[in-house]
């Protein structure tokens, strides 16, 4: 049995179909990547998986349970964590409180009190290297630091699946490697399945993922092992094709 299964999911916004019969799966502790050009529906897919949107059609099975109709916070409690592409820290709270909220409402939520949550928060901040800035207001962090905060907050939830949305976009290559290694280590240590979504930094994907799904205009067009997909000419066509149409 897979940890998470997405079966034939369709999501429409008005007349536009953002996802069309999308199916994928993740196993426990597995790392997958979802790639695709801009506008191909990746963010919508993540939103459907973690409950921001309810799909019109199809089912989402998590640990053998149908979670299609569950709302986002219930899924978070079950262990689906998410880091946003456009970072969304709680700006008026300190870095530490941000991470603490992750711990307080994650899978451990009923088992820990605020003091224990604080401990977890500190641990995570040390892990991502933001411990020195723990008492800054989140709004004062720089762009890359916010990405790290997103990551720390998601990890503090002690998830079973971590959905990383463009976590390394806009970062210098050395930093990208560092973060990818970090995620990989934590994931292996705590047996977290990771779904990472990337647009352009393919390099990160190759270092990281075991399997790849390629999404184009709301449909999965390719899937399989990293090497296979990378070598497939269709991939190139998707990327170049969209570029020639002029859509950025």
């Amino acid at each position: 049995m897979h940890l998470l299964e997405v079966n034939n999911v369709t999501k429409r916004f008005g007349g536009i179909t953002a996802l069309k019969n999308v199916s994928l799966y993740i196993d426990s502790g597995e790392k997958i990547a979802i790639i695709g050009p801009n506008g191909s529906g990746k963010t919508t897919l993540f939103n459907v998986i973690n409950g921001v949107y309810i799909p019109e059609d199809g089912r989402i099975i998590y640990m053998g349970r149908d979670i299609t109709k569950l709302s986002a916070h219930e899924r978070a409690k079950l262990g689906i964590a998410r880091a946003f592409q456009i970072t969304r820290p709680f700006p008026g709270l300190s870095v530490r409180e941000n991470v603490m909220i992750g711990a307080l409402f994650g899978t451990l939520s009923e088992k820990i009190n605020t003091r224990e949550a604080l401990k977890i928060a500190d641990e995570m901040l040390k892990l991502v290297g933001l411990y020195n800035k723990r008492d800054e207001l989140a709004i004062k962090l720089t762009g890359p630091e916010r990405k790290l905060l997103e990551l720390a907050r998601a990890l503090a939830m002690k998830p079973k699946i971590l959905l990383l949305d463009e976590i390394v976009a806009g970062m210098p290559p050395a930093k990208v490697d560092e973060i990818v290694d970090l995620v990989k280590n934590v994931a292996e240590r705590e047996n977290i399945a990771v779904g990472v979504m990337v647009e352009h930094v393919i390099r990160a994907v190759i270092r990281f993922a075991e399997r790849v799904y390629v999404l184009d205009r709301g449909e999965i067009v390719l899937s399989g092992k990293v090497e296979d997909v990378m070598r497939n000419p269709k991939l190139r066509e998707i990327y170049l094709g969209t570029r020639f149409k002029g859509g950025v």
Partner: protein, 490 residues
């Protein structure tokens, strides 16, 4: 906002349960509670008559309706502090009167008018009369006041400040019944005498307060004179009654209802309207087909003006229109010009309601205070407008000061209890009219309403006949005639 879709569950079990609970509580509880909380009004009311000697020589009777509940509640005892016979070792250099008064907010206009009247009266006492005569000395009055912004919070705060910080000797009330209700417990707590010149609701005095004394006629008697006047010109009239849904006008309407029931008159339409009404047309379309003779309106300012405007637009004619408060002010004529002709306003007092020392001596009742001319002159000095016309609120405020001063002199004491006792027994005529209260409740029983009517651009006293300056015009010109320039000529 886009992602709020998933939270769109409206009828979760929780909300449904709550809605049901709410409905049950709302209807059952509301019905039950309303049944228990309403003052047990007409069914067991008890009416008694107080002999009342009018300004003219004949004796009239004023009808008083006191709720049964008052009679069964523990009787309030009249304060019986013995009168000090010897002067206290040190007399204060001035007697301080305190007042929290609405100078701003919804009651601001009337509050200001009363405030100016009070200042005029104090000026008279200090400058013309020489001060309060106490133990052979004359002591001037001083007024301490705060603006309570027509708000209950403020009136409570400032009433206490007046008593405890400013150490006033006596208190004048705020204006409007809700504010007087709010300040009454504080005054009572400190055993402070509160002269109520601004809260007309009878109910204030039926709560068992001992230290509140009323200056003007209670609300339930506001319009009864109007009905008398109407009966004098028209037999068996059909009356339309509409009134603003507030404490004061509800009492007014209740008075009209009881009085006409007693006389066997027919009220063909009897409805309230909300305080912030913006359109009377629906009421008017219901009233128009009834072809009634008289319209009696319990109103304040804005609503009274709006109603007049829309009556004129719809040309719904009545031979007799009596309206509270709004027509008593000159702004009314300024706003409507000729259209105001013939409109009647019940009033506690108007310029020209000639209560004079002569009338007082004829009746054998003591006279005190300035004459009407003196008062008007002083009022004009205070407001710095040589043509100003004091409304009855100003006169009522002034009368409160005069009555208080006379009572202090009679009691020869500054002790509120002693003064209250004197106030309960005193019978006095000022330019405002007669003063005599029911000694227990403090309700005014002698003061009498008058009716004034706009005739040829002037507000003229037309009722009661004894003090009338002109005859009541009935029926008044129709709206169409008034638009063509016809005036109400007796």
């Amino acid at each position: 906002m886009s992602s709020s879709q998933t939270s769109g569950k409206i009828f979760t079990p929780l909300t449904i349960t709550l809605i049901i609970i709410m409905l049950v509580i709302g209807f059952v509880g509301g019905y039950y509670a309303s049944a228990v909380s309403r003052p047990s009004a007409p069914a067991i009311t008890y009416t008694y008559s107080v002999p009342y000697t009018s300004v003219a020589t004949q004796t009239l009777y004023i009808e008083r309706t006191i709720y049964q509940t008052l009679l069964t509640s523990p009787p309030a005892t009249t304060p019986t502090t013995p009168k000090p016979t010897t002067p206290p070792p040190t007399l204060p250099s001035e007697i301080v009167i305190g007042m929290a008064v609405p100078l701003t907010g919804s009651q601001g206009e009337v509050g200001t008018a009363g405030f100016n009247g009070i200042k005029a009266a104090i000026k008279w006492v200090n400058e013309r009369y020489g001060g309060v005569h106490l133990f052979g000395k004359t002591i001037p009055l001083r007024l301490v006041y705060y603006d309570d912004e027509s708000s209950k919070d403020k009136v409570v705060q400032y009433t206490e400040r007046l008593i405890t910080v400013d150490k006033v000797h006596f208190l004048l009330s705020s204006y409007s019944s809700p504010l007087v209700f709010a300040q009454a417990p504080i005054a009572e707590k400190y055993n402070m005498l509160l002269i109520n010149w601004g809260g007309a609701s009878d109910l204030i005095h039926l709560q068992g307060y001992k230290m509140i004394v009323m200056v003007w006629t209670p609300a339930s008697l506001y319009m009864t004179q109007a009905i008398d006047a109407l009966l004098s010109v028209k037999k068996d009239p059909k009356i339309v009654l509409i009134y603003k849904d507030d404490e004061f006008n509800r009492m007014v309407a209740g008075g009209v209802r009881n009085y006409s029931k007693k006389l066997g008159l027919q009220i063909v339409y009897d409805k309230a309207y909300p305080t912030d009404i913006k359109d009377f047309t629906p009421y008017l379309t219901s009233i128009a087909p009834l072809k009634a003779d008289a319209l009696i309106v319990g109103s304040h300012f804005a609503d009274g003006q709006l109603l007049t405007r829309q009556l004129a637009d719809q040309e719904i004619d009545f031979g007799f229109i009596a309206m509270n408060i709004a027509p008593c002010y000159t702004d009314y004529y300024k706003a409507f010009g000729n259209l105001a002709e013939g409109i009647i306003c019940p009033s506690h007092w108007e310029v020209g309601a000639s209560y004079t020392p002569e009338i007082a001596s004829k009746l054998g009742v003591e006279w005190f205070g300035p004459t009407e001319e003196e008062f008007v002159a002083l009022y004009r000095e205070i407001v710095k407008d040589p043509t100003a016309r004091p409304p009855y609120h100003a006169a009522s405020g002034a009368a409160a000061v005069l009555i208080l001063v006379k009572a202090i002199e009679k009691a020869q004491s500054l002790d509120p209890m002693a003064v209250r006792k004197v106030l309960g027994e005193m019978h006095l005529i000022t330019f405002f009219g007669e003063y005599k209260i029911d000694p227990v409740t403090g309700i005014q029983i002698a003061h009498k309403m008058i009716l004034v009517q706009w005739q040829k651009g002037n507000l003229v006293v037309v009722w009661p006949p004894e003090v009338a300056k002109s005859k009541l015009v009935f029926p008044i010109p129709t709206w169409a005639e008034k638009k063509a320039g016809k005036q109400a000529t007796p």
